[in-house]
């Protein structure tokens, strides 16, 4: 599967109808508008099951639609299939005229456009509007329009079933506190009934399949859901997949809590064997792999805050065994663990990782729960319900939205701070002039300019995030999501219009460790040793280090993060603290409950590396930035424990998740199983929060470049997502190769 989801095509007629429904609804209110549009979307966008499937739940995101994230945020319109250089369909001139008038309409009506238009001059000026999916990232910070990081209450869904939800909402309608609540409840009940519509649609679809045992089970599970709350594991997972499909929320949260009891009940009562459970899970995983971006589809197992521990553990083992049985870059199974948890889970996890599956990712609850408590300003019980989603951002299960709506490149900020707010490559002004490294006489002057530059963008970012929530709340009730989010029904308000308990968000930071290493090198070589002048460095950087071999070597050889080096790690801690606290401080000027840094990585480290000038850590323009909280490519030269020790240092109590890539030689876990387990156990004892491990060998990676057809199963962890190595673009492949193999 490609790492970027292409738009699906339903054609002009569908787009016209959807637009008409939107226009008609707009004359009344957002709830009716959503109902009209959603009734048009479903079941129209649903995709039929195959003969090999045992579960239903696939969909399209057509040219125009409604979704929290995929396709576009809220009401979206995507013209890429019919215009431009890569038009997929040749329409007649009359049809193109119609498309153009639709385009004109959505140019001001799309929710993302409304969000941008709501920005003040300050936000527009500081954040760039032209985020184009990451193709050209010239600016140091961008707003992103999406509502990522939504995790609905699947336990409530499973415990109550469709019938239970209908009952609850019907009772609420009668005693709605005001008109707004009544409109919301009306939309909510329709959103629940829409699940029925989709199930009925799928039953008809399934009936068309050839008669097999799989089909019989599929129809039975679907039919059961129309009648009662899920009674079997199959019914439970089917309902979750379907509701996820309809809402487009793309992550799955603590499935062990949600499905553990049904699983154990089925196994105990011979309703289903373990092997049948694996078969269902394999189909589930395969569907997710086809349907969802590599960045999402998190399934969380283990951890503090579970009441049905034994049953949940059973599901955890099933999930990991399924991962082991397939070689898919999805779903992103993640294991939370703590001292005292059933050790089998972690043992199993190490073995599956050791087999090169890149999953599960490991999360240390003994550190993370109290860190979340502090960072999110919530009590411990709430903090126990933290969830990593997507590329590794944290949110609070069914109580917050973790969406990152701003991305910022710290290395670009440092570049501006060194050069009067001007880009080194093109000399264009991107931030205020806080000074130039030629005139700074000590590191504190540079630091001050850097800090001002970062804060300049963060201030606008926090306001941008707030504004995006506000407009989304005004435009999009997301009724079904709201039904399954704490407090919304009780408050009579949809999720982003007063319903959600903790309205917070996150900010993705990139190049953190390049920035830290650059500052270390500058401090050591320019200010402390006076070996070079600021002017000399600027000249070398502008020349992309070409013909500056000697100075380049000096800056490359300066202390680097990832070696447990006190000097480098202290600077890294300073950079980390500054951006984390700067982010929370910026949010104080807004109504956000929290706004926190996430040090994650999709492939923006590679994309942004293209546009980031040469840096003082020795990196050249075009080379990737360090992914997440990892060392720069090849900079971690002192051995694995040194890297892990460095990674365990940054304060975990001031952000909402950081990812740590480690690349291990396949021989290590294979031939030294006990040492490999102990190594990570020690890392976590030392305060490590998280790790994600690629087990491979340089030889395999190189061979896969030569003969990709032989390496279809070679999985690598890129940053916040896994991928088949052969599916990655060349720069990302080279970035993976450049990482140190331990």
């Amino acid at each position: 599967m490609a790492t970027k989801r292409e738009i699906d095509m339903l054609g002009l007629d569908y787009a016209l109808k959807f637009t008409a429904a939107y226009q008609q609804g707009s004359k009344q209110n957002k709830y009716i508008r959503e109902t009209l549009c959603e009734d048009l979307q479903f079941p129209a966008v649903l995709v039929s099951p195959r003969t090999t499937d045992i579960l239903c739940g696939k969909r399209m995101y057509p040219e125009v639609g409604y979704s929290p994230q995929y396709g576009g945020m809220g009401y979206y319109f995507d013209a890429t299939s019919w215009e431009g250089e890569n038009a997929v369909v040749n329409y007649t001139s009359d049809e193109l005229l119609e498309w153009n008038s639709l385009k004109k309409f959505w140019e001001t009506e799309a929710t993302a456009v409304k969000c941008f238009n709501s920005f003040s001059y300050e936000i527009k000026n500081r954040l760039w509007d032209k985020y184009d999916g990451g193709n050209v990232l010239r600016h140091p910070a961008y707003p992103l329009y999406r509502m990522a990081g939504l995790q609905m209450d699947y336990k409530k869904l499973i415990d109550n079933g469709i019938i239970g939800l209908e009952l609850e909402i019907n009772q609420l309608i009668e005693k709605a506190k005001d008109d707004e609540a009544k409109m919301f409840y009306t939309s909510a009940i329709k959103s629940v009934k829409r699940i029925r519509t989709c199930i009925s649609h799928y039953i008809l679809d399934a009936e068309k399949l050839p008669a097999t045992e799989k089909k019989r089970k599929m129809v039975a599970a679907l039919s059961g859901l129309l009648d009662h709350a899920p009674k079997t594991f199959h019914e439970g997972i089917q309902l979750i997949l379907l509701v996820q499909t309809i809402t487009g929320t793309i992550n799955f949260g603590r499935m062990d809590i949600v499905l553990g009891n049904l699983l154990v009940n089925d196994l105990d009562n011979n309703v289903m064997t373990w092997e049948e459970g694996i078969e269902i899970m394999q189909n589930f995983y395969t569907i997710l792999e086809e349907e969802i971006w590599h960045f999402d589809a998190r399934i969380i197992v283990g951890g503090l805050g579970r009441t049905n521990v034994a049953a949940a553990d059973k599901f955890a083992m099933l999930a990991m065994e399924t991962t082991d049985s397939l070689s898919l870059p999805m779903p992103q199974v993640s294991l939370r663990f703590y001292e005292g948890q059933n050790p089998e889970l972690l043992e199993k996890a190490y073995d599956v990782i050791g087999n090169g599956k890149t999953f599960p990712m490991l999360y240390n609850d003994d550190v993370n729960v109290s860190a979340v408590e502090k960072a999110f300003h919530v009590d411990r019980q709430t903090a126990e319900q933290y969830l990593p989603f997507g590329c590794g951002e944290y949110m609070i299960d069914k109580q917050s939205c973790g969406t990152p709506n701003v991305i910022i490149n710290l290395q670009r900020c440092l570049e501006l701070a060194m050069n009067n707010g001007r880009c080194l490559r093109f000399n264009d002004q991107r931030s205020p002039d806080y000074g130039n490294i030629e005139t700074y006489t000590n590191i504190e002057q540079l630091w001050s300019a850097y800090e001002n530059t970062v804060n300049y963008f963060l201030e606008a970012g926090a306001k941008g995030q707030e504004s995006i929530y506000k407009i989304t709340g005004q435009e999009c009730p997301f009724s079904l999501i709201s039904v399954l989010y704490d407090d919304c029904l009780a408050a009579g308000r949809s999720i982003f219009d007063g319903g959600i308990k903790y309205l917070g968000g996150t900010c993705e930071t990139y190049g953190n460790n390049n920035t830290a290493d650059s500052l270390t090198a500058i401090d050591e070589l320019i200010f402390k040793a006076s070996k070079y002048s600021g002017a000399e460095l600027l000249t070398a950087l502008k020349a992309n280090w070409e013909d500056f071999d000697s100075i380049h070597k000096s800056f490359k050889d300066a202390p680097k993060f990832g070696n447990d080096n006190d000097i480098a790690d202290a600077m890294q801690a300073r950079v980390h603290e500054q951006v984390c606290l700067g982010t929370t401080t910026a949010a104080k000027e807004t109504s956000l409950h929290h706004w926190l840094v996430v040090i994650i990585n999709n492939n923006h480290n590679t994309l942004w590396g293209k546009e980031t000038s040469a840096s003082a850590d020795g990196r050249k323009n075009g080379e990737p930035l360090a992914p997440g909280n990892s060392a720069s490519a090849g900079a971690d030269k002192s051995g694995l424990s040194a890297l892990l020790n460095s990674q365990a240092k940054p304060d975990p109590t001031i952000h909402a998740g950081a990812v740590h890539n480690v690349k291990l030689s396949a021989n290590f876990p294979k031939k030294n199983r006990n040492l490999y387990h102990s190594l990570f156990r020690s890392y976590f004892k030392k305060g490590g929060t998280q790790t994600m491990v690629t087990v491979t060998s340089r030889a395999d990676l190189e061979a896969a470049l030569e003969t990709p057809e032989k390496y279809a199963n070679l999985l690598v962890r890129v940053g916040g997502f896994s991928a088949r190595f052969i599916d990655l673009d060349k720069p990302t492949q080279m970035e993976i190769l450049s990482r140190t193999e331990h």
């Binding site: 002192s638 424990s641 020790n645 030294n672 040492l675 190594l679």
Partner: protein
């Protein structure tokens, strides 16, 4: 106290038990033709290799991984080169580590003076002792050093109850004659206090260093890593003879 090293490598899993930090000291009396650390032979600081460092700095670096040592029964290994070419420096590091309760291993060729090994015994938990060539003449021509003093050291350590892992680099067509293999096999029974006997198959990973140093790789060496078939032959050789302590390393 200052000394010259090439590297401090953390999380080594090939230089003794558990997870270890290995410090590579510069300088060696031997000139084994297959040496895979040629950059450590000369005592001098060279262009790409070697730096002056204080023993306390080394100890401080080693202490950082104590939690990993504790968890895996690991510790610190001094390697090289021959660490005892800088005897005071090496012994100082070992002494400080022992004081801190960290397991110490000394990877040695056996070529230093007995008086130095006497001191080393007090601060070393485990010796990785090289046994390279059985025939005395060949020993001299392949390593540039006489075998007899090395064996004197070995006997000295054995008679002083030192814990020893015997390490035998195996170079196809160079030192892997039947006589040599037979002697290694017999040593297990002759010296029951040996902890293990490690067979270290030749690999070509050191070649890049020769290139960097501007030195030729000895033409009599194999061009490739040891093939699996040969590894199996070595294993069966020792198995047939009832060896239990012989382990073939990667």
């Amino acid at each position: 106290m200052n000394g010259i090293i090439t590297d401090i490598f953390r999380t080594s899993i090939v230089d003794g038990p558990g997870i270890r930090t290995t410090v590579f000291l510069k300088g060696c009396q031997l000139r084994c033709i297959w040496c895979h650390n040629p950059e450590t032979q000369s005592m001098k600081i060279e262009k790409d290799y070697g730096r002056l460092i204080d023993s306390e700095t080394i100890v401080a670096e080693c202490v950082k991984d104590r939690i990993y040592y504790d968890e895996t029964d690991g510790g610190v290994t001094l390697s090289g080169g021959e660490p005892l070419m800088q005897p005071d420096f090496a012994l100082e590091i070992l002494k400080r580590l022992k004081e801190l309760g960290i397991h110490t291993t000394l990877d040695t060729t056996g070529v230093a003076k007995i008086s130095i090994y006497k001191k080393a015994l007090k601060v070393t938990d485990l010796f990785l002792f090289d046994y390279k060539v059985t025939d005395s003449k060949s020993h001299f021509s392949l390593t540039g050093s006489r075998k007899e003093p090395i064996m004197d050291t070995f006997n000295f350590l054995i008679s002083n109850n030192a814990k020893i892992i015997l390490r035998c680099p195996m170079i196809p067509g160079v030192n892997d004659e039947v006589e040599h293999l037979t002697t290694i096999s017999e040593m297990e029974f002759k010296y029951p206090s040996l902890v293990e006997i490690n067979i270290l198959p030749y690999h070509t990973m050191g070649n890049a260093k020769y290139e960097k140093l501007g030195r030729p790789v000895d033409p009599s060496l194999p061009k490739e890593n040891i093939p699996n078939k040969l590894k199996e032959y070595y294993l069966s050789f020792f198995k047939i003879r009832g060896n239990k302590k012989v382990i073939l390393k990667d």
